[in-house]
Symmetry: C2
Subunit: 471 residues, 2 copies
């Protein structure tokens, strides 16, 4: 309804506007921001579906297509969807240019509209990954996760120590990188992007397999370990020594949060279900579940963990209730509209220009990057093989599932660069490593899980409770 | 995943941050904004469900409870959820205070976090009303709408002329209000809030009845007429004369848009359905439908109509395809998470302090308001009775359905105030009229539709394709 106001703040009555208050002008740019949001969503959904469908047809994971589609419309190629955080200016954004042409956006207002638009899209993409992890939690089996917990812990810990030690040592001894930047690069090798791996697992119907649950469990632990590693490295870079109290605080808060959320959630969930059964208005189940999930996400965020951990814990708890199936069916359409924003934005933010060997300054980075990529892949692939004596497990698949670094790895590069410890070449090398591991993991993962779950794929065409499944 | 970065920008490593770039600081406040969005959504959903459930139990329309819940948490009472556009300061917002206490938001960063947070919530609420109108379009029957078109047109036109003429004349002759502000107030009496009426109609299972379709058709026409009336009034206030070319432009563009969208949509929809049937990745139907709906919304917004008209037209067109039922089922959960944001925000923005008779300056406004409210109700109630010779129609219900002004009426007050034409008392009176008509319409509408559709209410508990229905 705000659009009505646009009349007053656009050209039709622009002389009237000479007397308009600041609030009026803001409402007008609000209308333009909203038009920009609608346009961005059209673009994101279109790119997402196009990329996903092409990959599905050439037997690659759809999520890879969604990432690549994001790269194509993002800062690396077409510059349609760009973000100020990745260093783009308002004049780079084709969406803003389009708004200027079609929606009478004035060049003066463009900067603030660009900033607000990027912020809204970023937040929608963060909501997307929160909903994705909520859905993954809902699909997971808490009992199975606890059962595979020891194996997941081994995978997570080996997957942190092996690449960290090899990467840091290699950089120092082979490439004569100073210790602090070497440690940053090593730390960036430890992350695992749970979103990308889980999406691929769901696409091939392996989310609930034993391997799938080990990967998910290890990826969740890896998220927590990543936070701790970042804390260690950042305090090392700052003071040259490790602040033990912070580390202990993080370990305890992560443990207390996850265990506490699950215990309290299990205690509360019968009451929540009872409440939902009593409610008479529409959306009672979905909104009650989201109140629970968003509350846990909020708590996780403010105690310096990640919001997605809260959403995952909420999903795990609600998966144990009788409402699981009904809730899954309602979460699917919500995930369908929010999750694509996340994957396309990850792609759109990825700046492939660091990979261009024609730029001389990239070459040193490329050599270091080749080494980091090798360590990144091998350091995670071996994790599966540390699960001795379990011959029935697809150990290769477990290791491959841990490969994608996603944007978690980029955070290390960002913090390292901000602390002044990283040289440009090392930073570029880390970014290249993140890009490559993220993009090769989906097809690689499909390859090592040789047989897709045909039975599930051949089911009917109704919405099914398996994430990202093709129908 | 951005939350990882919060470590770097929060207190844990704040000394590290001395060297952090501006981008890092922005990412940190991005994390706080995201935490604020999660918190706001928890609050909005909670208030929405609480208000809706209480009203459902005392046999009032749930949407009234959602509006009242919004008022309670909004600027009029608890000041938990407030917006800068309604004149609130960052220090008024309890959500910001809570973030300061729990999430280590610094007072310096609070202003920008407050602005961004409000913007994101406002945009989510606008997305909510777009999805609501899309769902209403999907529930409506284009053939029925065209059949009742002449009646809807009569209702809409009488419902614009009667309150406008009576209101303006009454203010000039009875209250000696100057002509221009009287015309503004008269114009504010012409609006109809389609969202509120449609929600109530759906709640009582009357959306698809003949009366329901006449009300929806008339409310859509009223939205277009409202845009035209605003254009006339605003140019009158500015130049003292009517700019005929603008009016003609608006009438033609509205007509061309609605008819064109429906004709082109009907032509395209078989291809869209065929495309969806060919697609293999998840969410193919919902995302394709939203690409279509958001594109039309964008076009409607940039040609100075309202985004919701585009969404409504898209819903109407897709309702004619074989995918209607499947699409409805998928839109429901999306509407369930977005529409509540709209209704709670409408309530939260409503400033009831203008109703306080203890403030002397309100008294003149209260007297004018009483007159406006009388005209607002009678001027719309008579519309149904202008449909001569149709004895089988519930004429009272049609008129009552047109009563709520919603925020459309507030836009008139805002534009009027911005143009400097309105005295404070007249502005306050318009706002009171809007508040009262919005809040009395839902229970009144239920009353005049004596028999709720029992048959539908007694169906099974599965998600059903009727908006807002209770189960």
């Amino acid at each position: 309804m705000n659009c009505l106001t646009s009349i007053a703040t656009n050209t039709l009555f622009s002389p009237l506007l000479a007397t308009a208050t600041e609030t009026e002008a803001e409402t007008g740019s609000q209308t333009l921001i909203f038009a920009g949001v609608l346009l961005s969503l059209v673009l994101i959904y279109f790119a997402n579906k196009l990329g996903g469908e092409i990959c599905a047809r050439i037997n690659l994971p759809p999520v890879l297509g969604e990432l690549v589609a994001g790269v194509i419309i993002g800062v690396s190629a077409l510059s349609i969807l760009v973000f100020p955080e990745s260093g783009s200016e308002v004049t780079d954004s084709l969406i803003i240019k389009f708004l200027e042409t079609t929606a009478e956006l004035s060049p003066e207002a463009a900067t603030s509209v660009f900033a607000s638009l990027s912020e809204v899209i970023s937040l929608l993409s963060e909501l997307g990954v929160v909903i994705l992890l909520f859905e993954i939690g809902l699909e997971s089996d808490l009992k199975e996760l606890i059962r595979v917990g020891p194996q997941a812990a081994v995978v997570a810990i080996v997957g942190v120590i092996a690449p960290f030690a090899t990467g840091t040592a290699g950089l120092v001894y082979l490439f004569h990188v100073p210790l602090i930047p070497a440690i940053f690069a090593g730390a960036a090798l430890t992350a695992t992007s749970i979103g990308i791996t889980a999406k691929v697992l769901a696409e091939i119907g392996q989310l609930t397999s034993e391997e799938g649950q080990i990967i998910i469990g290890a990826a969740v632990l890896d998220d927590i370990l990543g936070i701790i590693v970042l804390a260690v490295v950042a305090s090392l870079a700052k003071t040259g020594e490790v602040q033990i109290t912070n580390i202990i605080y993080l370990i305890i808060s992560a443990g207390v949060f996850l265990i506490g959320a699950i215990l309290i959630g299990r205690f509360l969930s019968p009451y929540l279900v009872g409440l939902v059964n009593e409610m008479k208005t529409r959306g009672q189940l979905l909104l009650t579940a989201l109140i629970f999930a968003f509350s846990l996400s909020y708590i996780a965020a403010v105690i310096h963990l990640e919001a997605i951990l809260g959403a995952f814990a909420a999903g795990l708890v609600l998966a144990e209730t009788e409402k699981r199936k009904e809730l899954e069916e309602q979460v699917i359409p919500v995930a369908d509209i929010l999750v694509p924003i996340f994957f396309v934005c990850v792609g759109a933010r990825t700046d492939l220009s660091v990979l261009n060997p024609a730029v001389p300054s990239n070459r040193e980075g490329l050599i270091i990057a080749s080494f980091l990529i090798l360590v990144a892949i091998l350091g995670k692939v071996i994790t599966g093989f540390t699960l001795f004596g379990q011959t029935n497990l697809n150990k290769m698949a477990i290791g491959v599932g841990m490969i994608p670094r996603g944007e978690v790895g980029l955070v290390f590069a960002g913090v390292g660069a901000a602390s002044g410890a990283l040289s440009e070449a090392t930073e570029a090398a880390i970014i290249m490593m993140v890009i490559l591991t993220t993009f090769i993991a989906p097809p690689f993962l499909r390859l090592v899980f040789k047989e897709p779950a045909e039975a599930t794929l051949l089911e009917d065409n109704n919405p099914k409770p398996i994430i990202g499944e093709e129908n």
